[in-house]
Assembly symmetry: C2
Homo-oligomer: 146 residues x 2
Amino acid sequence: MMLREELTKMNERNLQSYPGYALRRAANAMIGDLAKRLEAHGTRVVDATALLLIADNPGTTSSAIGRSLDIQRANMVPLLKRLEDAGLIERKPIDGKSLGLFMTAHGEKQLAEIRATIDAFEAELIARIPAKHRDHLLPALNALWR
Amino acid sequence: MMLREELTKMNERNLQSYPGYALRRAANAMIGDLAKRLEAHGTRVVDATALLLIADNPGTTSSAIGRSLDIQRANMVPLLKRLEDAGLIERKPIDGKSLGLFMTAHGEKQLAEIRATIDAFEAELIARIPAKHRDHLLPALNALWR
DNA sequence: GAATTTTGCTATAGCCTATAACAAAGATGG
DNA sequence: CCATCTTTGTTATAGGCTATAGCAAAATTC
């Protein structure tokens, strides 16, 4: 039928030549996939990322995490509340106003599973890239935001 | 001072080795930059993308655009309303239930400026990538979502 | 010690996406 | 030709993430 013909032949040539478009689509697909996998652990991508930072930097603060991940201080509040409510982290005063962030035993255990999921995901992601392009992706991407 | 020392030394090694993390950060930085530039034309990234598709596929439909860009039919409604309200596109019935999308003269004029902005943006984006990695980015990204 | 900055937080609004449901029209298969 | 999917465009609504403004208390700077 006519209309269907036109649709499947949708001209996307212009979009496909834009690296910016490919970057957006690839990132969206990637994030969506990872989010679905982390959901199985009751976690979100941002939460898992924050958790990784806290585990590697015991005693770090909400502000420091925010600066590192480019998350506004205000938006760190509900994020850390989720992690604390889930019993994954705890906050201990390190001076009169700052709160140090620390993993709980339960948090460490959960993170081990999360890490395994992320590592498997990253491995699959890399495997999807043709070998001859593989090693170029990370340096190319890093040039775009660092 | 102690605390500051710790913050600037934040351990991010684990994150930095993840292509997925770099992909997310690069895409966010890129989208943010482009969004800011398109704002000067009173347009959003998604709207501009849809506009490009409509211009290259006169008479295409809301559903077809949505399928092509992975946007739900429901979410196409406000998007197309914005384009129509701005006088950039018009809708003409192509059968009893489908509406064909067409650029207006004003839309074509606006799109010319938007295209120039996007092209300049994409050129700068590519220029930021070290030459030896440059040609690998697009094929690597496309392998991740197509 | 006064002025400035930082920290953690509340409240709120916006953008984009996801789901469910609906009526009308179109396509399909006997 | 008729009954049964399927498609289209739409409303309504909720959720996730982000951005802004403002605030009090503490820390830092000069």
